[in-house]
């Protein structure tokens, strides 16, 4: 994966100029030529009229007039070519930045993703990058084109009307640009606020509609409405403010007055006899042409400004510094993944929290064993599994497999051998088949069916109208809780890992289904390490070892028989069960 780096946001934005230099140079040259071509007709019309006043409807006049069409054709060809190549570079820029952004963001560790809202990242990846392109085209392009035109026009005026006129025009345009930039700077913060507010508005409404069931059943409609109304009002106020600042646009006035003044001076010079009427027409024609081409300039400045702001924001996300960067691993160590795992004083904090999610964990997980994990909500069970998958690295202590430190193994290597069924199931929109074969897109039909059968998912898949090819919606919303869970189990089984992690994966399954699943898993896990977070007792009894977590610490570690004898917490779990009574009646728990 190509992972470009940039010094700062500006560098990211202006990397545009380094991407395809030859083509860019070519398109800039064409742009200059196109600026010349835009101004030629105005000059020709002036000359033609002089010719007409002096020599009447002569053949020179006709040639000059035809020249206008010629200039038009030249303009067309040059402008098309110039625009075309510039456009190509600009769209490529958008495409490439989007790809770089995604790759970079995806490669950041989960710590980054914990801190960042995914819908925020999405709008950066889509809208803000599109806006960066707009900063280039039409933004930067329009500004450059305009600058070229102004320069060429001033040169032309110098050539046809002398220094004073040229200087006056120059002064006018310096003022023009000054105020245009000034105005852009004034509007830009409002624009940014508008964009942020729009983002908030989108996020808010998305949140409400995603949780519509909760909103409705708690009668939150009115409150959500008021909340939305507030933000919508804010947006509309900002919009009005922007419109009103933009309304009295000084640069326009400057341009109008410049035209009027040059008109006046020309009038004077013509009456003095130092200028011909044709020249005056040329000057006016040039200014009008320029007025037309400057019409969009304020917009272009805003585009450019916004693009640079966005580039800065994007850069910050792309160049996020991982507090625990991966070690550069040169040689992938030879590891026997069927070996035992050692936790040595492992402590882990999520960023921003002061309390460790896991504190001082030390234990040895025997090879090819069945481990069960129990513990209260938030006691660190899921976190423990995430560390095994190297989704995070512990701040203190070491995890060793086959004697090799986890930090010396690349994450991708770990994940080749370890698979997890996550607690909160995430399914991709697409077919069931695609979801199950996620880890291995080349899986055969047979493999997929085998995995689905083992996960007890085939039972319901078969009943769907399109079977494996049924398309499931946004995050699998149209499946029941247990159905989603079984698809995720099938997905992990298909990956055929050496170490299988199940995070409370039977919580939405009925006992019958769970039993079938357990049997299937027993067959599968005969010679691999399985670690299961569970609230179901049977799994505890079957486990070779049980880890009891409490508030991030290992309270106890041993098999059922040991724990039931020595661990009060463990005993309590059984005492709490109504069925305990029944069991007790049959002879009691030791």
């Amino acid at each position: 994966m190509n992972q470009a780096t940039y010094k700062n946001g500006r560098a990211l934005f202006f990397s545009f100029f380094q991407r395809d230099r030859l083509r860019l140079l070519w398109s800039l040259i064409l742009m200059v030529l196109s600026s010349v071509a835009t101004l030629i007709p105005a000059v020709l019309v002036g000359i033609a009229i002089d010719e007409l006043t002096q020599n009447g409807f002569s053949s020179t006049f006709i040639i000059l007039s035809t020249g206008v069409i010629g200039a038009g054709i030249v303009f067309y060809v040059i402008t098309f070519l110039g625009l075309y190549s510039f456009m190509t570079i600009a769209f490529r820029f958008e495409r490439d930045i989007r790809q770089e952004f995604f790759d970079k963001i995806q490669s950041h560790s989960l710590t980054f993703h914990d801190e960042n809202n995914s819908s925020h990242l999405l709008s950066m990846g889509m809208t803000e990058i599109s806006q960066m392109r707009q900063g280039i085209m039409p933004g930067l392009r329009g500004i450059l084109q305009n600058l070229f035109s102004v320069i060429i026009m001033i040169i032309t005026i110098y050539a046809i009307a002398g220094r004073e006129m040229a200087l006056a025009t120059l002064a006018g345009f310096i003022l023009y640009y000054y105020f245009a930039l000034y105005q852009a700077r004034k509007i830009n913060p409002i624009r940014m606020e508008l964009a942020n507010t729009a983002g908030e508005m989108t996020e808010q409404s998305q949140e409400i509609f995603r949780g519509i069931e909760v909103v409705r059943s708690f009668r939150g409609e009115l409150r959500e409405f008021l909340r939305f109304k507030t933000i919508s009002e804010k947006y509309s106020r900002l919009g009005i403010k922007e419109g009103q600042i933009a309304a009295f646009y000084l640069p326009d006035l400057i341009l109008l007055l410049l035209t009027a003044i040059l008109f006046g001076v020309s009038l004077f010079q013509v009456t003095e006899g130092t200028m011909t009427v044709g020249t005056m027409i040329q000057i006016l024609g040039l200014l009008i042409t320029l007025q037309l081409s400057s019409m969009m300039l304020p917009q272009m400045f805003l585009f450019l400004n916004a693009a640079i702001t966005n580039a800065n924001r994007l850069w910050e996300k792309m160049h996020w510094q991982d507090p625990q960067p991966d070690k550069e691993v040169e040689i992938i160590p030879q590891i026997n993944w069927e070996s035992y795992i050692v936790f040595e004083n492992v402590t882990f904090y999520y960023t921003g929290s002061e309390r460790p999610a896991l504190a001082n964990i030390s234990l040895i997980i025997p090879k090819k064993s069945k481990i069960a994990i129990i513990g209260g909500p938030g006691s660190g069970k899921s976190t423990f599994l995430k560390l095994l998958l190297q989704l995070y690295l512990p701040q203190e202590g070491r995890i060793l497999i086959d004697g090799v430190d986890y930090t010396d193994i690349p994450a991708s290597e770990v994940r080749k051998h370890v698979s997890r069924v996550e607690q909160e199931i995430f399914l991709f929109s697409g077919t069931i088949r695609e979801n199950i074969s996620f880890a291995n897109p080349d899986a055969t039909e047979e493999e997929i069916i085998r995995a689905a059968t083992a996960a007890q998912a085939m039972e319901f898949i078969e009943k769907l109208p399109q079977g494996l090819d049924t398309v499931i919606g946004e995050r699998g919303v149209d499946l029941s809780g247990g159905q989603r869970q079984r698809l995720a189990i099938a997905r992990a089984i298909l990956a055929n890992p050496d170490i299988l992690l199940l995070d409370d994966s039977a919580s939405a399954l009925d006992s019958k289904t769970e039993e079938l699943l357990r049997k299937a898993l027993d067959n599968l896990s005969a010679d691999r390490l399985t670690i299961v977070v569970t609230q179901r007792l049977r799994t505890l009894l079957d486990a070779d070892k049980i880890i009891i977590f409490k508030k991030g610490r290992v309270l106890d570690y041993g098999n059922h028989r040991e724990l039931i004898g020595r661990c009060a917490e463990y005993q309590r779990i059984f005492e709490l069960l109504p069925e305990t009574e029944k069991a007790l009646a049959k002879g009691g728990i030791v």
Partner: protein
């Protein structure tokens, strides 16, 4: 930005209303701004006259110069020119100023109207339409409509300018007028290209960008899955492919537009040359002055640009109308589940809930869209109504997709009922019907004899509360989340509930305790912690009827027992429905309902059902056999 601006006229769906109808609706929204708009119209008129008159001054000056006037005698023309420059600037600015007000206020009104409608829309609508699309109705489409308003006033200016310049041109010479009319067929051709090929290509760009966005969204929120399964390269490749495709479409579209826009300039040049030829010839005949030729060259270009702008406006206007059409769809959408305040209030006496012959199926998986027919059968013509009846019957007969079939259950008032059954049996669906997220296709649901369809939703939700299977939390503090159903609760009440549930401990351990801000549905909490918060939220609301859908599935036995104790203490003597797979969750219930494949198979208390030796007996035994408690005894 460009996406939302072009989104509308690219709608894949055909418009269902005529422009006339839509404009009428639009006009009703403009009523409050009548005076603003009238004022803008006057400003526009004056502005047009000013800018049209300016070149005439220049023409005048040229002719006088050629006639040998002195500078003094031309001075007044210069002053007039300057005056008009100022005037046009001021008026233009005022137009922008007022339009900013009208547009922004209008979009605000539209936005909140749409929002309101959507919040009240049927759950089947929300089931079908992705939340992202719903949001785009509210945020993007409304914006698009107001853009149409800008187009409207802009068109007004353009029409005025076009007429004024055309008048001047014809006034100079019939021939000048005729040359300038060349603009008309040109603009017609260009409009045709834009709305034909342009539109088609824009559509491709849009849907392709949509795919990129969808893939990006999914891969960003599912990033841990891609990482876990080592599929980062693949997702990257997937994005690259879509990205490349989009680039291709963008390039095609760009090529089309880069071909069109300079061509307008070319046409302008041809027209200017035409004016020069004709003007020169006529000048020789003494029919037009040199000044008039100049005026002609200025005016043809002036004429061309509003005509082109109008062509462009036309497409933009189509965009706004299409957006309006979609919005009107929403605004006129009549929820089949009505939340009329005027309906009777639900009065609870015993709290008995009865499902009477309830049939239900989700429509999302249906081929035929009966829901649209179901919406307003009375507004249909007789013939259509018959057809509708047919379809409905057909739909009902199509058994394959029934999620609930002839469900008859009585949830005893003041008692605790357990709902059990295999996964996918339809348990969650029952809760959804009970909360009236959907209405049954057939049959009734009664609470204390009152049909759910005849009581107001407000009174329903006041009395009944659900803890959903999937916990959903809002961005905001934990405190706000717990108070969601009872915003006026005191903090102490919240602490109290959390203490009962044993949730206080972990909340207080968070960096900011109860004031900790959750983001993205609480992704920084553990699954069980999230579930605890949703339980606290519901318990705080203190409903008379409580529905728990796998509410404790993510909790350990100890935490679950705390929840059960709290529930016993706080909800003693109230109707409670508990759904659970863990039979430990449903100890001490008064009644058990066993659901299988959408049908009720057994009802009764534990003893009765055990005696039946049916489904429950089987479930119970597998559960215990499975839980291996006998083994515990044996093992010891």
């Amino acid at each position: 930005m460009s996406r939302s601006r072009h989104g509308g006229w690219l709608a894949d769906k055909k418009r269902t209303r005529s422009s006339k109808v839509l404009l009428k609706i639009f006009w009703s929204y403009l009523q409050p701004y009548k005076f603003h708009l009238a004022f803008v119209a006057v400003l526009t008129l004056v502005y047009t006259l000013a800018v049209t008159y300016q070149p005439i001054i220049v023409q005048n000056a040229i002719d006088r110069l050629l006639g040998g006037s002195t500078f003094q005698s031309l001075l007044f023309l210069l002053v007039l020119y300057m005056g008009l420059s100022l005037l046009s600037w001021v008026f233009q600015s005022l137009i922008t100023w007022y339009m900013a007000i009208v547009q922004n206020e209008l979009v605000h009104t539209l936005r909140i109207d749409t929002f309101n409608k959507l919040v009240d829309a049927d759950m089947s609508y929300h089931g079908k339409v992705q939340s992202g699309n719903v949001t785009s109705r509210v945020v993007n489409d409304t914006q698009e409509i107001t853009a149409g308003l800008g187009v409207f006033t802009n068109s007004l200016t353009n029409v005025l300018v076009a007429f004024a310049t055309l008048f001047v041109l014809f006034d100079i010479s019939l021939w000048f007028g005729l040359v300038s009319l060349l603009a008309l067929p040109t603009s017609a051709i260009i409009t045709k290209v834009i709305s034909g090929r342009g539109r088609a290509q824009m559509l491709k760009v849009r849907s392709s960008l949509g795919k990129v966005s969808g893939a990006l969204a999914e891969n960003l929120s599912g990033v841990s899955i891609a990482k876990s399964f080592n599929q980062e390269e693949r997702t990257s490749r997937q994005i690259r492919k879509l990205n490349d495709e989009t680039y291709g479409y963008f390039k095609q579209l760009g090529t089309l537009f880069t071909m069109i826009f300079p061509s307008i300039s070319l046409i302008g040049m041809i027209m200017i040359a035409g004016i020069l030829y004709i003007g020169g010839y006529l000048n020789q005949q003494g029919l037009v002055s040199v000044g008039s030729i100049y005026l002609g060259t200025v005016m043809v270009r002036r004429f061309l640009s509003p005509i082109m702008a109008l062509a462009n406006n036309f497409t933009n206007l189509q965009a706004s109308l299409a957006a309006l059409d979609r919005i009107v769809d929403v605004l006129h959408m009549e929820a089949s589940i009505k939340a009329l305040q005027s309906m009777n209030k639900l009065v609870l006496t015993k709290g008995e809930i009865v499902f009477e012959g309830v049939y239900f199926k989700y429509q999302a998986r249906e081929e035929m869209n009966v829901s649209s027919l179901k919406r307003r059968p009375d507004s249909l013509a007789e013939e259509e109504r018959l057809k509708f009846k047919d379809l409905r019957k057909q739909f009902l007969e199509e058994k394959r997709y029934y999620v609930l079939e002839n469900v008859n259950i009585t949830f005893l008032g003041g008692k605790k009922t357990a709902l059990i059954g295999h996964t996918g049996a339809g348990k969650t669906t029952i809760t959804k019907l009970l909360l009236r997220f959907y209405d049954p296709l057939e049959g009734r649901i009664l609470i204390d004899g009152q049909d759910l369809k005849e009581v107001s939703l407000d009174s329903l939700y006041e009395n009944i509360s659900l803890v959903t299977q999937e916990p959903y939390l809002f961005a905001g503090t934990i405190m706000d989340n717990i108070k969601y159903g009872k915003p006026d609760a005191s903090d102490d009440e919240v602490y109290e509930i959390c203490r009962h549930l044993g949730a206080d401990e972990f909340i207080e351990a968070l960096p900011n305790g109860f004031q900790t801000v959750l983001q993205e549905s609480g992704k920084s909490l553990s699954a069980g912690q999230r579930q605890m918060i949703t339980i606290a939220r519901t318990m705080l609301k203190n409903p008379k009827i409580l529905v728990l859908d796998e509410a404790t599935s993510r909790l350990d036995a100890y935490s679950e027992s705390l929840v059960q104790l709290a529930q016993q203490k706080l909800f003693e003597g109230r109707t409670t429905i508990v759904i659970a797979h863990r039979l430990s969750t449903i100890r001490d219930v008064d009644q058990i309902v066993v659901l299988d494949k959408g049908k009720v198979v057994e009802v009764g208390d534990h003893e009765t059902l055990m005696k039946l030796k049916g489904k429950y007996y089987e479930l119970y035994n597998t559960y215990y056999a499975h839980q291996g408690l006998e083994n515990i005894a044996i093992a010891s």
